[in-house]
Amino acid sequence: MARDDNYDGPILEIENLSISFMTRLFEIPAVMDFSCTVMPGEAMGLVGESGCGKSTVALAVMMDLGKNGHVVGGSMRFKGRELTTMSNEELRELRGSEIAMIYQEPMASLNPAMKIGRQLMEVPMIHEGKSKEEAYQMALEVVSDVKLPDPARILDSYPHQISGGQQQRIVIAMALMSKPSLLILDEPTTALDVTVEAGIVDLVKGLGEKYGTSMLFISHNLGLVLDTCDRLCVMYSGEAVETGSIEDVFDKMRHPYTQALFRSIPLPGADKNARPLVAIPGNFPLPHERPNGCNFGPRCDYFEEGRCDAGDIKMGPIEGDQRHDSRCLKFTEIDWAEPIQASQDVEDVVLGEVVLKVDDLKKYYSVSGSAFGGGEGKTVKANETLSFEARESETLAIVGESGCGKSTLAKVLMGLETASDGSVVLNGVDVEDVAIEDRTVETVSQVQMVFQNPFDTLNPSMSVGNQIIRALEIFKIGNSHADREKRMLELLDLVKLPRTFATRMPRQLSGGQKQRVGIARAFAGDAQIVVADEPVSALDVSVQAAVTDLLMEIQRETKMTLLFISHDLSIVRYLSDRVMVMYLGHVVEMGPTEKVFAPPYHPYTEALLSAVPIADTSIEKQRIVLEGDIPSAMNPPSGCPFQTRCRWKTDVPGVLCDKEVPPMRTLSNGHQIKCHLAQDVLDRMEPVIKVSEDA
């Protein structure tokens, strides 16, 4: 069938779509009564937490629901043609040529054993019958379109030979090879670093404008949707709950879930006192446990018994707005302007003694060269001259992108690795050379870790209670089993899990609950220092706030020192007292949170801040997109580690940046940066994030 390039109606119309997955026992509805329309050139955002059905919608548009998935009702029309009744042949012609998709994990979605060039060339060869040479020329062109350096070399490499950001650009290039009318982006930047994400977002926006492609942008990140989309559809538990233009939904939300979602995400412009986080109570319902009536009912502040749970609720238009609908019975009655109530007043913590002192810490790894183990060995400098202190009750955030050495630092502190040089003093004891197996029980129980992925860190065949008791046994706490059991129950209280959870198995818990168990386990031995390695990044937005609040509450009670490792500057701003920004193994900036988040910045911090997507229409930010990738730690640039991507480099006289690693210098009151820029240049810097006046 020939492509209809002159079609000017809606690109995609979905009406009352329902999708179910059939298992042997019963039918699980994944998407119910979903409608949306995407006009030519329009970018539609699909937002919701994991399990809300947004990816199912995306795959349904491609009609790729697997063996068990079935469209059980409604219709989907692509350029006026019904998708649900198309044959395989017809679908194959659409896929990759008119509708293309970009995936969450670029590494997994590229064939590892096929050169990139061949994977790209395949598209025009299938759909347009192009010859190899023509296809190669097209591939070259598209690869330079997605701003990849040295296209010919990239086409001749395997996916694993390029970086994650480059892989995602290749996936985008692949989608653009045939200039599709509709581009589906399924969490395209979730697996990437923020500065890389910013580059990709810019690229997608630019290409959308250049080719006039319509987009269906699926994300859990509201800020990202604000940056990229014209319209937005919020999904909850298989249903669209609110849909409308970005401005309407962001500024005049008319569904309690949308409101709750916005209130549970931290904004980098505000700290915990200016704008407290409000966690959504309860848990996301499983598909077969959905309540009657409104799915959000049990977690909603405005829930009214007998009305909200009476029967199915339809989408209703909001008067005065264009194409703005909400699935709520009460949206006309709720006072949407009511200010957020802070759950409790938070006293400022008093910082205590220095409990951890790191001085000039270095950690080098050596790796071998070629494919068969020969060649020159190389050194990876994971940590370079790190010096910092952390006090009792203090939250020190360690921020940086992947490969900056923050996890290596955590490993050295925990004793999983020993330092190459320098010292780590923990409560007056030198521990830099002591591996974890040689540490005393006391030291081990003092420094504990909360891991990123709660799904992998709990033993799946041991009950929650026993896992905590096991930790107590290892730390030699309690004299009898009864003692430990009592302590275990107290720990469950501490992390606000019901005591009945002690007998549950990890698979019976949700992600947030598992993370609470992880936290309880870390506190089994009254840890004084807790290293939290991205503790909430694997969790859903609505749960993140609750876990974050829990950590801070425990901190107030136990006066522990929290080393909070994160790439999420919003959350760092929200909870930390001091921030340490790392780049390629160096600490480039360190200081009290409000100082780090205000000018003068280190150029890297500035770029990092500007890259964070912010879900607030009243905020204006400077857009600074870093060129290229983070250099390899195996082959770091000479001089300043950031000099290859720094936009301020020209303000430094001579070749100082190329030659010398800048010394750490103190600007004011504990605020240190590692930069050659002169004071007057630093003073010229403007804030990256500005709240506009009329907000």
Binding site: R95, E105, A108, L110, N111, M114
Partner: protein, 348 residues
């Protein structure tokens, strides 16, 4: 790469040295030597006669000296026996002692003399090894394409009828040992029980002139077992690859199913079975002994049994070295091939 192969060759030499030393020690235990003396000399020899026989032939000297002679780092013995005859290690029967070289060990290319077959050990080994090698080659030539085809056809649509049929076939064949399948095949195709009589039940003639009639059944017996095993591996690998995200990418690019299987899935799915296939070679080398016995085909397995049964020291040592070389060489091939199949792998 060169360094890597060199290292592996070093490992190979060390392993061969270690293994032969163990075999040498075992075969030179006194009871074994006594058995040797009695089978070579006379079964009714008295104890003193045995020790004289052994003394005259240098068997009772220290172990390491004998091992050194075998290796060729020590000069071979020249002993004037109590019976007045002068015997030299390097002068086998019929050769004069004066003409014999001083050293005649492995390093000089001498693999010793088989006490059972009365021939130089290397000659026999080559002969038997080539016979088994030919059997193995035929079996592999049949096994690999058939097994891969079955595995891929079964794995590309998991749970389909094709998958279930082929999986059942491969489970049955891999669960049937050769001595059962061999007997069954003979009964069906070579005996009057069924009456087909298409092939011969013995492969004795195949040693000189292998043809379709006398060689099919042994090859089929070995192949059936391996086919089942390799097909299972390939299927498992294929089903895993077919659920990978890059296969979904290809599908949503509009690639047809046939091309998805051939262009995208195949190479990735072959990575795991490749190792299994290569490791099948050393197994076949010794594993064929049952099939060889069943069809009276005197190959390497048969040789090993004969040598071990008669404490044929030189023969056993030679067989050990050959086995070590084959096992480690196939492993080397599998490692190198793996790197080429899977661009992500680096060996360190």
């Amino acid at each position: 790469m060169g360094m890597f192969i060199l290292k592996r060759l070093g490992v190979m030499a060390l392993t061969a040295l270690g293994l032969t030393l163990i075999v040498f020690y075992m075969t030179n235990l006194y009871p074994n030597l006594e058995k040797l003396a009695k089978t070579q000399g006379n079964f009714r020899m008295s104890e003193t006669e045995v020790s004289t026989w052994l003394n005259n032939r240098g068997y009772t000297r220290p172990l390491l000296v004998k091992y050194g002679e075998w290796l060729g780092v020590l000069p071979g013995y020249v002993i004037e026996g109590t019976d007045g005859e002068v015997r030299a290690r390097c002068a086998p029967q019929g050769q004069s002692v004066e003409d014999a070289p001083e050293y005649c060990g492995v390093f000089q290319g001498g693999w010793g003399y088989s006490s059972v077959f009365k021939e130089p050990a290397s000659d026999i080994m080559w002969k038997r090894l080539s016979l088994t090698g030919f059997l193995m080659l035929c079996a592999l030539l049949l096994t690999i394409p058939v097994a891969l085809l079955i595995g891929i056809l079964a794995g590309m649509r998991e749970g389909s009828k094709t998958d279930r049929t082929l999986s059942t076939f491969s489970i049955v064949t891999s669960a049937t040992p050769e001595y059962v399948s061999g007997v069954v095949l003979i009964a069906i195709f070579a005996s009057s029980a069924v009456g087909l009589k298409w092939f011969k039940g013995s492969a004795t003639k195949a040693m000189e002139s292998p043809d379709f009639e006398n060689f099919t059944l042994p090859v089929l017996t070995i192949a059936l077992f391996s086919i089942g095993y390799i097909a299972r591996m390939t299927r498992a690998s294929m089903t895993e690859v077919m659920t990978a995200q890059y296969i979904r990418t290809a599908r949503l690019k509009g690639v047809s199913f046939g091309n998805i299987v051939l262009k995208h899935a195949l190479r990735n799915a072959l990575i795991a079975p490749f190792t299994v296939i290569i490791l099948q070679i050393p197994y076949l080398l010794t594993g064929v002994v049952i099939t060889e016995t069943l069809f009276n085909y005197k190959g390497f397995g048969w040789l090993l049994v004969q040598a071990a049964g008669n404490n044929d020291i030189d023969m056993l040592l030679g067989v050990s070295v050959v086995s070590v070389i084959i096992v480690l060489a196939t492993q080397l091939i599998s490692d190198i091939g793996y790197v080429y199949l899977n661009p992500r792998i680096r060996i360190s």
